[in-house]
Symmetry: C2
């Protein structure tokens, strides 16, 4: 039975971290809201349900038969071992989940660069505050997060270029998406990132060029980044540090 | 061997969600940075290590012998089954982790009410933006989160007053802390919360009055809320909706 992914149509968003894992594994899945005969209404029925026990707070969530799993890090924790994209040993699995939760925080901070005051309002209504928050992000938070992940790569005793253990995991796929999104949204701030964070740049390129991901990226299933998603290219927010 | 909790001294902060679970279970643990012969330096050695493979991004993290686990939701996922504070069935465990991750997001939004622009700056340097963000929080986000958790309680088929399944889990303990913190930080906004969210109020009171937690709350191990933590009482940010 196919996995069913529920996420907003029209953007990569948080759903993309799940999609990359499903695509890399060649898993049988349905992107429910993008199906012609299904759609967002079906997703909202789970969220608005007044009878289901396990209601999700927000998309993305995944259905695997009767099992519903919500939140990106939770979905990847669930899928990882099932798709052979989790570390094999227990110790490393706890570390992988911690890394994915750091990526979760990183994503939320990227989002807040364009929405520092109110998710319910437009970027244009909080542009001045967004400039201030983005400056803090580019100057302090971005180097802190990327510097940390570069150290994690460097201190992996296996030295195979993966964040955890000796083979590719869902955390590596998520890190690819972070770099890809940051380069899209902050081209000035990310200039020369490959010199400052060489391990992350190599990991990014390696994921991008892998056959399954390369084929996915060239397919219509990969939507382009746009200014409704998490990673938005607003020149006013992109500074050269 | 005792669990070792690493977190900033002087505040409840994110470490408190872990403490409540350890305390409720009567677990043998050491709060490392508060030990007279140990301290924050020892914590920073893990964070700044240039040789360890599994470095944490930030506190809190837990050591259980040789196993290091970082991030609140990850630590609770690890401790839950070991301290008999996780749901028994698999399906419910995935739901519990999803709920805990929603609490993680909720906590981050509480933090950002007083730091909407820059974590590296004082509240006083972003007070106007904090007022705008707090207004959004009180009017839109707070009712959205609390309304969701109230529905989760209501739709739990067991109807025993717990968020998941038929017995107390770490998620219930975290929800107690959320209500406690919100009432401290936003007394006006939380006025009559017990009428609007009666299930959550009952859950809060039940956790508070349980013997292990009541004893913990009366002990010097429970620090008071203060204006260095996540939940801060700034009258300028508290509005009557």
């Amino acid at each position: 039975m196919a996995f069913e992914l529920y996420y907003w149509d029209g953007i990569q968003g948080r759903g993309e971290f799940v999609r990359l894992t499903l695509e890399h594994a060649g898993a049988d899945y349905v992107d429910v809201t993008r199906e012609p005969d299904r759609g967002t209404d079906e997703m909202m029925q789970f969220i608005d349900s007044s009878s289901e026990a396990h209601i999700p707070f927000a998309p993305p969530f995944l259905k695997d038969g009767g099992q519903l799993v919500s939140h990106v890090a939770n979905i990847l924790l669930y899928l990882g071992p099932r798709l052979d994209l989790a570390p094999r040993d227990e110790d490393a699995r706890w570390f992988a989940n911690g890394l994915q939760l750091t990526i979760t925080d990183f994503v939320a901070e990227v989002h807040d660069t364009h929405h520092p005051i109110a998710t319910s309002k437009y970027y244009e209504d909080q542009k001045e505050e967004a400039k201030a928050r983005a400056a803090e992000f580019v100057m302090n938070r971005l180097p802190k997060f990327l510097g940390y992940f570069e150290r994690v790569l460097k201190q992996n005793p296996v030295q195979g270029g993966h964040l955890v253990g000796d083979s590719l995991t869902y955390v590596d796929l998520s890190m690819f998406q972070m770099i890809e999104g940051l380069v899209y949204a902050f081209p000035k701030a990310m200039k020369h990132h490959d010199i400052r964070y060489p391990g992350l740049a190599r990991l990014h390129d390696r994921v991008k060029d892998g056959p399954a991901i390369a084929s996915y990226l060239a397919s219509p299933r990969r939507l382009a980044f746009n200014e409704s998603g998490i990673f938005r290219r607003y020149p006013a927010l992109d500074i050269d540090p």
